[in-house]
Every structure is written in C-alpha cells, then in structure tokens.
C-alpha cells in the first residue's frame, strides 16, 4: 500500500485514538503532578439532633479564592509518586537501614500499598499468562483433531467462560467457595477443619483468583489458536507423517513455527489484560487479601468519601509504564523480526 493511501486510511482511526486515548493520558499525566490546595479550615458550631459541638469545616470562601487562582491545585512535582502510598522512596530507604535481613526488608516493602498491589499484579500475570497460552493451545489442538460433527457445540461450550460477564462469573465462583457454599463446605469436610476459609486466607484467595483468571482467559487464546490451526498447510504435515514423525514432533517442528506470530500476539494481549486485573477482586470481595494496581486506582477514585485525583492519576501513569516495561521484550523481538523480514 502506498504511504499516502495508508495515511488517509489510518487518519480517522488515528484521530479517534488521539482524542479518546492520547489526550486523556496526557491530562492524567498532568493531573498526577498536582495536589489539592492547603485546606483552609475554620472552627464553627455544628448542631444536629444529638446536640451541638464546636467542630471544624473547610472555609469555602478562602478555598474558592485559592481554587480560582490555580484551578489545577498545588504543583507537587513527583511528590505524589514518591509518597508512602506509591513508590515510598523515603520509607524504603528507612527499612533498608532498619532491617537486618533481606527477608525482613522484603516483608516491610511488600507491606506498602503500591508494592503489595504490584506483587499481586505481577504474580497474577506470571501465573495466568503462560497457563492461558498452554491451555488454549491444548484445547485448540484437541478440538482440531475431533470429528467435525460435534465440533460446533464443543467450541461453543469452550468459549462460554469468555461470554459470561466477568463479574457474574466471579460471583458464581465466589458463592460456591463461601464457607457455606458447595466447594467451601466440602473442603471443610474433607480437611476436617471448620475454620478453613478460602476467602480469609491470603494464599488461598490468590490461588482462587488465578484459577478464575485462567478459566476466564483461556477461551480467548483457544479461539485465536484454533483459527490459526486452520491455516496450517497440509502438505508438510503429510510429508512428516510419511517420514515417520510422531504427533509431538509434528506439532513441535511444523505447527508451532507456523503459528508462532499468533502466539506472540496472544501473549501480548493477555499480558496487557492480566496486568489490569480488576473485576475478580470486586467479584470475589477480595479487597482484603488481594489488591491490584487497577484496584488501587478504583479505591482512590470511589472508595473514599474524598476523591484522590492526584493519587489515582499517579497510579494510572505507573500502570501504563508497567505495561510498557512488561511488553518491551516481546515488542523488541517483533520489531527485530520485522526488520530481518524486510
């Protein structure tokens, strides 16, 4: 395609991307450098049905003067990024001086909200992504090998987890693992421990969410792999059979190299998806034991009666940077292949 045609072809999409993705990210970035003005408070008398007290309120007149002067707030630079609820630079250097062993140091660091969330997010990515790829590939291979007659209904059944709304899917599982639910109660019986709870133990909650993640995301990998398998040329496969190659050898040396670009694509997409893990935490009411970066943003925006825009913006920016870092190796590799191909 000539460059000019491509340009006109891409223009509408490009404009929409700038408008709906680019500009909001820039605005978020700017917001993350600002904090609220110093609150001007005053003592007033407050009366309610239970009596009167002297208490403090925000002085609206004084605050509105400040706000009109600088509507974005007080410039804070990287102040929000480095505070205790984010990168916590100060606290970490303190821990480094105070603690004796590395284990103790790591304990202290992962007790900070941002690192706690990062740890869960990375663990989730690390376990879910490879398993999704593997499971998706195995399902695609098996379905590709069975009779065409029953393939249709089976494919439908397989992609069901993806069709089910994430929240509904996680809620169903949530009720099943409740101490009174079918899985929870049976586990208690099996382990003979009436205090066993999948929801109150941190490790068990993590395992539950990771299993749910694999269950929910595998169909996506399956669908893409299954489509790719349809394009595998039959001649080399038949030749390999004549040469006496086993099924494993055929997959390893013919099928996999053929669908390799698709594997990269699925890996990229699932990494990005998994890094933003959010719904299962809400669905499983797992806020106590598992927090992800996306959940931190949500928490700053809606869970508090006071909305922390600066905090949320800073975490958003760091999530974007985190995704970029995670994707970098795959992207660099794709780019290199693209260069050699040319």
């Amino acid at each position: 395609m000539p460059n000019k045609t491509f340009f006109w072809f891409f223009l509408p999409t490009g404009l929409a991307m700038i408008l709906f993705i680019g500009l909001p990210i820039i605005s978020t970035g700017i917001q993350s450098f600002y904090a609220q003005h110093d609150q001007v408070v005053k003592e007033v008398k407050k009366c309610d049905p239970f009596g009167c007290t002297v208490s403090i309120v925000v002085d609206q007149e004084a605050t509105s003067v400040l706000r009109d002067e600088r509507p974005l707030g007080k410039f804070n630079g990287f102040g929000t990024y480095v505070d205790r609820n984010h990168l916590a630079i100060e606290q970490i250097s303190e821990f480094w001086d105070e603690t004796d062993t590395l284990g103790e140091f790591i304990d202290q660091v992962t007790n900070l909200p941002f690192y706690k969330a990062l740890l869960f997010t990375l663990t989730y990515c690390l376990f879910v992504t490879p398993n999704v790829l593997l499971l998706g590939f195995i399902i695609a291979l098996s379905l590709n090998a069975i009779s065409r007659k029953i393939r249709g209904p089976l494919i439908f059944g397989t992609i069901l987890p993806m069709i089910v709304t994430p929240l509904v899917g996680s809620l169903v599982l949530f009720w099943m693992i409740d101490a009174e639910g079918i899985i929870g109660a049976n586990l208690q019986l099996m382990m003979e421990d009436p205090y066993l709870s999948l929801k109150s133990s941190r490790t068990l909650t993590w395992i539950t969410i990771i299993i749910y993640g694999i269950w929910h995301h595998s169909p996506f990998a399956f669908v893409v792999f299954y489509a790719a398998l349809q394009t595998v040329p039959q001649e080399p496969v038949e030749a390999a059979i004549i040469d006496g190659a086993s099924r494993y050898q055929r997959i390893r040396h013919i099928v996999l190299p053929h669908i390799y670009p698709v594997v990269t694509f699925v890996a990229l997409i699932s990494l990005m998806d998994n890094f933003r893990v959010f719904e299962p935490i809400i669905g499983f009411s797992a806020e106590g034991s598992a927090q992800s970066l996306s959940w931190l943003i949500y928490d700053n925006l809606v869970n508090e009666e006071v909305i922390l825009f600066g905090s949320a913006a800073a975490t958003s920016m760091m999530t974007i940077i985190g995704i970029a870092i995670l994707l970098a190796p795959v992207l660099i590799r794709t780019w290199k292949e693209f260069r050699t191909a040319r």
């Binding site: 904090a35 609220q36 003005h37 110093d38 609150q39 408070v41 005053k42 007033v44 008398k45 407050k46 009366c47 309610d48 049905p49 239970f50 009596g51 208490s55 403090i56 309120v57 925000v58 605050t63 509105s64 007080k74 804070n76 929000t80 505070d83 205790r84 609820n85 606290q91 007790n111 909200p113 949530f174 409740d178 101490a179 009174e180 929870g184 009436p194 205090y195 066993l196 709870s197 929801k199 109150s200 133990s201 941190r202 499983f284 009411s285 797992a286 806020e287 106590g288 034991s289 927090q291 928490d299 809606v302 869970n303 508090e304 009666e305 006071v306 909305i307 922390l308 600066g310 905090s311």
Partner: protein, 408 residues
C-alpha cells in the same frame, strides 16, 4: 346554601390536606439521590405525594456515595437533592456542593421541628428525618437455653459466644459486618470511640490512633472476628443478615435500620420470634457505647436552579414533617419527625441515645481516616502483623492521603 357548602368542602379538603402534612404544590424538576433501604424508600415515596406539577425522579442506590460528589459537581447538577448522613454530608460540604436552606425552612418548613435542623456555622445545611446506629441483636431462645444473660459489654459478648461455641450449638455464634473497606473501618470507629479514643490530636488533622486505645480496639475486633464465620472479611450487612436468618448466629451487631427486614414475615418464623434487640454494648469498662449515632437527612444541591431547589424542598419537607408516614411506617426507622411513637424495633437507637452514644465524627478529614482504616487493619486480623504495626500503617497511609488533600 352554596356558600355553606363551599365552606364545608373547604374545611373537609383543607383539613385532609393538613392531616397529610403541609404541601404547597411545587413545580419544576425534582431529582433525588438516596441510599437504598426500606425507610428511605418510604420517605421518598411520601415526598412524591407532594410533587405537584413537578417532574419527579429518584435514584436509590447503595453505591450512592460513589455517585454523589461527581454528580453534584456538574453544573447544573444531575440531582436537585441528596439524602445524606453524618459522614456523607462531609464531602459535599468540603467541595461546597450543597446550599443553605434557611429561607426555605422559614417559608415552607412549618411542620419541621427545630431538632431536625442540621446547622453548621448557623446555617441550615440539612434536615434530618431519621436516626440510626449499630446495636446488638440476640437470639433469646439460645441465650435462655444456655443460661446466658443478655450481654451489655463486648467482653460479655465474647464470653457468651465462647459459651455457645463450647456448647456445640453453633460454630460461629457472632456476626458483624467486617467486610474489608468501609464496613470494617466503621466497626473500628465504633470500638475506638467505645474505648474513649479521639481520632485526631485536638484541633488538628494529625492522627492519634496508634496508642493503647487503638491496640485494645484491634484486639477486641480480632477476638470477635475469631468467633465469626471465617469468611468475615467478605461479609457486609446484607450477608450477615442472611447468616442470621439461616439460624447460624446468636449474637450480632447490625444497623438499627435493618431490624425491619429481620423481623418481617419472611424467613423462618421460629428465628424471627426469637430475634430480640437491645442497646449497643460498651467495651473496656467504658460507659459510652461502642457505637456511633447517625442521622439521615436531605440536602439540596448548590449547582441547580433556585426553583428546582424550592420544589425539592417543598416535596421533601412534606415528608420530613409527615405524621401519617411516621405512624404508618413506625417500625421501619427511628423517625425524628414529630408524632413518632417508638416501637419495639427502635430499642437499639433509643438505648444508644440514653447511654450517651457519640455521633459519628463529622470532620472534613474523617473520610480519609475511614478509608485508611478499611484497608490497613486487614492484615492484623489475618494474623500477619502486630496491632502496633497495623496502626502505624493506618497513620502513615492517612498522612500521605491527607498531605495530598492539603489537610496536613
């Protein structure tokens, strides 16, 4: 003759209108945002009875806190009125999103009692219509069978629960809304106030919870948690209500406003009959209850036309002074409206007031403290951290947030 008839008609209709509460047929547009529980539905329904020619809309949502600030910040705002409580009025005040209504009270607020007015700096910012608190519920049959007196303190609650567990009748006899986040933080607030704690150093926004009272509070919460369903960190008010109705709990701390749904005809009649209410418990030898008093009242959006505010006030004031409503719905809430005769379901709140319970602290920075508590004390309950460490974390998390918000 015609004149007499007209007069008669006037008296007849005039008086019925009066008996239903005062209503001067508003016009314009009314849009109300409210939490979702039965008493509030009744209240808004009553207000609708006085909508006149106005366009009347209402949004009942348990997620009301999340919608309120953004929806009222818009100009013109989505809602003309918001039903708020002691805690949820604070963000509205902080952001200057609600309007004083002294003139409207003077003009249309005939039946509203002075005690219903929430005044801040001499201006009426809200009109309260019901009171709420968390208090104890107990199963009379279970306690009687085991010879346990009705607990008055949390220490007695623990002892009673241990006795019930030892008897083998129930594995997890205690329940409270310990869901990580807002609910858990609310339990901490109650227990901390019961221990006589103050959240901030006097006159400042500096936190002061990392002390002996804070530690005692956490230890009591942990003891109670160990007597609850092991999934307690995921259980909110609705979930523990379900647990109660399934007969697996004998002692529970729950909102007074939920008593109606516990004592209605739905569910096991035996459990309903044995469900009894009592005041909130005290803790650590203190004499004020480990509970906070709450009011629910209506506020008017600032970023909305004066005529819409007036229409909303007329309709809502009609409900907030409605003797018929409080008589008909006497068991739904503890109404602060004139003419309310407290029934057996109001015992909790009335006891709490008698015992001198404190209202939930209405401070501009309290929301940040509440938020920090909700996430940072979880690890202590899970046994992963010491009480001192948890309290230190709460203070540190609070300080960062308060700095960002300009309170420190």
């Amino acid at each position: 003759m015609k004149k007499i008839l007209l007069t008669l008609l006037f008296i007849l209709f005039g008086s019925t209108a009066y008996a239903d509460g005062h209503c001067s047929k508003p016009s314009g547009s009314i849009n109300i945002l409210a939490n979702d529980f039965p008493a509030l539905r009744t209240f808004v329904e009553t207000a609708k009875g006085c909508k006149g020619s106005a366009d009347f809309k209402v949004t009942h949502s348990s997620e009301h806190n999340k919608i309120a600030v953004p929806a009222l910040t818009a100009n013109p705002s989505e809602f003309s009125a918001r039903i708020a409580a002691n805690s949820s009025i604070v963000p509205l005040m902080n952001q200057d999103l609600i309007r004083p209504m002294d003139d409207l009270v003077k003009k249309y607020g005939k039946g509203i009692q002075d005690s219903q007015l929430i005044t801040i700096d001499g201006k009426v910012m809200a009109v309260a219509f019901m009171a709420n608190t968390q208090h104890l519920y107990y199963r009379e049959d279970v306690l009687k069978e085991l010879g346990i007196p009705v607990p008055k303190t949390y220490e007695e609650v623990v002892a009673a629960s241990e006795k019930i567990r030892a008897s083998g009748k129930m594995q997890h006899p205690y329940a409270a809304a310990y869901k990580a986040g807002w609910n858990l933080a609310e339990e901490f607030v109650n227990m901390f106030i019961g221990h006589g704690g103050e959240f901030f150093k006097a006159g400042t926004a500096e936190p002061s919870i990392n002390n002996a009272k804070g530690v005692a509070t956490l230890n009591m919460l942990k003891k109670l948690a160990s007597l609850s369903n092991p999934d307690y960190l995921t259980h909110d008010s609705e979930a523990i209500k379900v647990e109660w109705e399934s007969g697996k709990v004998a002692l529970m701390t729950l909102w007074a406003s939920r008593s109606g749904t516990l004592l209605d005809d739905e569910g096991d009649a035996k459990i309903t009959a044995a469900t009894k209410l009592t005041g909130p418990a005290t803790v650590g030898g203190g004499n004020i209850p480990a509970a906070t008093l709450w009011w629910d009242g209506f506020t008017l959006a600032k970023n909305r036309s004066d005529s819409d505010a007036e229409a909303s006030f007329i309709a809502l004031a009609h409900a907030a002074s409605n003797k018929k409503m409080v008589a008909d719905a006497a068991d739904q809430a503890v109404w602060l409206v004139e003419g309310f005769v407290p029934g057996p379901k109001s015992i909790g709140v009335i006891e709490a007031v008698k015992m001198g319970a404190k209202p939930y602290p209405m401070l501009p920075q309290m929301g940040l403290m509440h938020g920090a508590l909700g996430s940072e004390i979880v690890e202590f309950l899970q046994g992963k951290e010491s009480a001192e460490q948890a309290l230190k974390d709460v203070e540190a998390a609070y300080i960062s947030k308060a700095k960002e918000q300009g309170f420190l």
